[in-house]
Symmetry: D2
Subunit: 346 residues, 4 copies
């Protein structure tokens, strides 16, 4: 059994990691590290774990942890990993980091958008961007994976085939993304209070969301060219789910059948990505609680554009599920282990 | 006091008309016509009207109605107005129709998108598109107004200034719109059931929504050129509200300050349209229950695009409130009569 | 025009006061006092007021305020009124206080349940409990009204007739109340965050909620006897609405018709209380946004109990609407002024 | 591997059965019978099953099914099982029925409350009421189990210890239950539409809900006496979850500690029932998606009553999860097989 440690387990992504790992046939959680709840049982913080996982939250000890765990998931606030990840990495740990810190190749891009110094730039050359559908081979060889952001995951899975084959004008890409509120984390600010969010929606951080450079980095690799996009996130009154509606202009004529072929081929062996047939479109509850990404495609002949709708669960394929998928790859387990069950739909 | 008749009062737009007219200083509801509830008190169908408006629903009598009402609102299913509106119009009624039937100049466009013969094409030359911010003068002289659709209202108010001054490439317009479920009407299909809609979102009718030609008709008038757009509606788990996020490429450089000036000038005398300053952005609860449209503007210098977010309440500015606004104009009342109160926000 | 001041206008009850007073034919808001937002326009704090009410929030000046206002609504945190209300009252102000401070006859009861010294016990003999359906005559003569709590309002309106006529065993009363989240106020704690409240429900403060003694005080007056009840509040994932389901054992046989008569008589002249006929039952959206209370009655012959369901909007009849109703009575205006419009239902 | 057939798989309880059985280590779904979707893949009806379970829905063949399945779950509309269950039972099938048809000992009680003839009264002597915490031994020997209703499950688990030890007056029991909308099933009526349910709550079927006699049957067995209760269900704007708040008068003085001991003892070996300590109380999200029941206890010394709050997921412990638990018992598998994972909480 793989021994797993989770640092920062008590945010929503952390607790989803716990949920998924409880069902993993090859892994067992041995260490739950949470600064806020040291000494408390995890089931006292999260009562849904009563009788299922009652282990105690511990303080971080970077000396002992490498010996206690085969893999460590880190879910720390942005930019705080400098004290945590370098020592663990040096000590030989296999690490999957859920923050943005190790997603970027260029520390300067990180610093421009996150407005803070990069906490451990020396590790960036080793770190691999943890989107399996694009970087499986490199992930398999990595000991440090930067788990992708939720919006980028939905967007990149939605765009990759079209960009890869060069079907679209990469200057024309517009991503209009909508997310449930759990994407903001286990927050206690007025902005994310029930009464301020319920029965309401809005765009935010328009033309300035920090996920933009992450998406552009990966699209540029696929396109072998610098790609710049418009990315607009929106807050939606629900807990889980991301729907990215993506617009791009076709370079040449393409039928829906042709587009479905491109996507069908690109994802034909992928266990977690499903392309809807016949112009049908996904809704987020189809992937709620699961690690799947459902994609619908439309060709708008009137405007010579394609419209892609890409649906994921922001906490699963957008965070914890993808992290477990990366762990499976890095530790040479079955890639779908612990991720094979249906989501909950209703 | 203006005597008002409402035909088809028992849908959600109809019942919003009732709510707004109850508070109108110059109008009184004298006739509620509802095929489904003939003989029932409106407060038995809608208990929130108990003790406030208890009048009985009646059957339609196109002979008597003109004498009983100074203005008639019609909220009938698409394409069914042929038996209702022509006789009332001939009899001298002032009519505001909430269906799509009288929004179009060209019956052929209607027939192409609504896939049915136009119910009364002979009236189209007389009908005026009821968006006051664009057609106030013509509305004032009209006796038949086609009240705009909800998505088109949010979209047109969001785009009109930029299109009018020629600041954007009208071939580049993309409208990503999100709506609460009341836009579907008082429906009892599985698709709009609570369990299928709650905690879920999806795009629908991508590249084929019937509001597309309506938006294009009006933008083409503003642009003095044929405009074709991409329009994508989405269903959001809330009752009221539309947020239209609109993308367009700038023809020339423009600063945010410049864009705010354009919008500020265009709407400076408009009582119901508010442009947010300083890059702040609206959320739909700011307009819930009110006839206002709140607009936020962003200039994305990286992509040379503008992003407009336009928020309305689909039942008010998107339907009943705009209908009352049109009535006020047509009958030479104060334009804000019955529409001056704050929405309910929480 | 009555000049109105609102102290503590920026909580949810305060902003509902603003909404209702904007539509009041005889009152105008002249002073908005808010410690948190001094110098800011109220429409910058609450954008739904843009273009409707743009006045600036001011600091409290207990010397000037009496001359500027004919009536003052105070919506301060519990127990903090000692610095505010006594000076205003001495200066001759007419005050409606939305806190619990002036609801009690006995300061000792207040101190036992609120666990703090009463801020101004010297004013208790003058203060009147502001439930018009029970104390209209006294309210009309008062200059200081303690506006009732939301749960007590729903409960007392639901029970008063049965208790008054002695139809039930007052030792048997059980009140199971459910409330939307706005009852917690404009909070920013984790407990009231969207993700913690959405798709969730729970009981809280069982057998210890501070509204219990308030309900018992008023029932004891009606019963002319000490009444002790079980009161259980619950948090429900919605913004507005209280439903109180009340159980009591009949002293003697009583038919549903008999019970409906008792309630019909008790409330026959009340503009804001409606008894549902024929065993139909109210839902909270029937009163959302309105000052009405809708009551449904059942006689459970199998257990010799009556079950009363009483629905109000916690922010309106449970707070701001009732406060305006009290103002109307205290200032000898039409009691329904500013409260006559329908709620919004959908 | 146990071969499982599900008849009526396409309702919400049916699809939860599919979800849970997909994760069951000892069972595999071999037959999905659905009248409505014959010939369609289950993943075309429920897209969350894409790539996980793509088997085709078949027509019912009562001749073939017994040979194809080791156990059959039936989820048919009330009263329609007469054509289905008797032939399967005679053929030797092990059957767990999710309808109310086989919960009752007395066909006359069923007929009085369900207002239809009992479909197969000859099977009632063999059928066992499928609440494991009360009837494990009999379930283990049964071939036909009537899976309990959702409200009765929450209520009986909440009351059983107190009734069993005789701590409460069984004439005083009041059950105020609140349920999410999925309890109404996969409905397409106006009453359960999103706009009619969202932001709304109400009581319904007061003093007449069909779950009342089911609860009374089981409480009477525990009490060894006829028990009659008041039961009031409420509809809450969320999808999953039941919270039953139960009131009963103590026969003798009892401290909270004493009450916790009674419940702790009664449930000490139960894997799915958890009693909260120290007066803490459960919320439904603690059991969302899981087969657990969480119970909180309060002693109200002022009224000499106990108040029990019992939380379950109506689709899991209230239907599908309990059905799987019964299957495990009937087929001598580990009782927690397929039910051991955490729920999803957020």
């Amino acid at each position: 059994m793989i021994r797993v440690g989770i640092i920062g387990a008590t945010g929503y992504a952390g607790i989803e990691l716990v949920r998924l790992l409880c069902g993993h046939p090859d892994a067992t959680i041995t260490q739950i590290i949470s600064q806020s709840f040291v000494g408390k049982k995890i089931s006292d913080v999260y009562p849904h774990l009563k009788g299922i996982l009652d282990i105690e939250c511990r303080e971080l000890n970077t000396d002992e942890l490498p010996a206690q765990c085969d893999v460590v998931f880190t879910s720390l606030p942005q930019g705080t990993s400098s004290e945590v990840i370098p020592p663990l990495y040096s000590a030989g740990c296999t690490i999957i980091d859920l923050s943005a810190d190790f997603r970027f190749h260029d520390a300067a891009v990180y610093e421009q958008w996150y407005k803070m110094p990069h906490p451990a730039p020396q590790l960036l050359p080793d770190a691999i961007y943890g989107l399996p559908e694009l970087h499986r081979t490199d992930i398999a060889k990595a000991r440090l994976v930067g788990n992708p952001g939720c919006y980028p995951t939905a967007t990149l899975l939605g765009l990759a085939p079209a960009v890869k084959v060069g079907a679209i004008d990469t200057n024309s890409i517009i991503v209009d993304a909508k997310s449930g509120v759990s994407g903001a984390g286990r927050a206690s600010s007025l902005e994310y209070s029930f009464c301020e969010c319920d029965e309401d929606m809005k765009a935010y951080k328009v033309a300035q969301h920090r996920h933009t450079p992450e998406i552009e980095q990966e699209l540029s690799i696929l396109a072998q060219n610098d790609v710049v996009i418009s990315f607009t996130p929106h807050l939606i009154p629900m807990k889980r789910g991301i729907l990215a509606t993506i617009y791009a202009t076709l370079k040449n004529d393409l039928s829906l059948e042709g587009l479905l072929n491109i996507y069908g081929n690109f994802y034909k062996d992928e266990p977690f990505v499903h392309i809807y047939e016949n112009g049908t479109l996904p809704s987020t509850k189809a992937v709620a609680g699961s690690n799947h990404c459902h994609i619908g495609l439309t060709v708008d002949q009137r405007t010579h554009r394609i419209i892609i709708t890409s649906a994921i669960d922001n906490l699963v394929k957008g965070a914890a599920g993808q992290a477990v998928q990366n762990m499976n790859i890095m530790l040479n387990l079955s890639e779908t282990a612990g991720l094979a069950l249906p989501g909950y739909y209703i």
